[in-house]
Symmetry: C2
Subunit: 151 residues, 2 copies
Amino acid sequence: MTRWPLPEPMKLALEQAQEAARQGEVPIGAVVVHRGAVIAAAHNRPRALTDPTAHAEILAIRAAAARLGQERLEECDLWVTLEPCPMCAGAITHARIARVYYAAPDPKGGAVEHGARLFDQPTCLHRPEVYGGLGEAEAAALLRGFFRARR
Amino acid sequence: MTRWPLPEPMKLALEQAQEAARQGEVPIGAVVVHRGAVIAAAHNRPRALTDPTAHAEILAIRAAAARLGQERLEECDLWVTLEPCPMCAGAITHARIARVYYAAPDPKGGAVEHGARLFDQPTCLHRPEVYGGLGEAEAAALLRGFFRARR
């Protein structure tokens, strides 16, 4: 079998997740793409930054907004290795991200296809297009390895 | 009638909201209290910071975590002038805030007693105690005045 190659932004997001693990952070990475160009890449850093909001998606969105000099990221896509939590899904809505690509589902902490399913709420002001499963095996293996080593 | 005086942290949160309005930001303010002492106060600043995540609660939580040098704010209370949105409610859970006091309900954007009701989700990892309505008239008047002036 020839495995379909992962899109470049998801490869970068997985590299960010690996970097997080090297730094002792839960291995989750995120990348923001604007008109085909990567404009921000980040990984989970709540411990290093002493910041409970420092998820990969939040850091990538903040960096992308700073880079573009605008609060709204309407022409941007977010690539992330794990299904976003409620905080990050909320930030995706506020930022008006156009498309979200995520690798592994997160039945416990996710808020896109699990839990609060935020983008399906009638009060949700902006629903991105959502694509799941690209790089799922790679992203899940990183998380499993990280937590296994800490048990 | 003698009106029951507002608790000091909610007065401070309302002052923060007024400062937001003076700066052209949606008037919402937040304060974090740790063992009875105010350790962080912030207002909504997405425009000034070019940051879609820069809600009052997020900025106050980040400042409080930096001030205490810890990711989790287990002994902290958050006072905020408006019912938190999904992003901020998620951050409150990640930060393990003990108690949330909010002034005005937000039927359109709130995620505590409206919308996704995040703290009531079975997957929610941490539910703060929640108290609503203190300073509701003052907080709602600030928001109404702000949006009326812009119409």
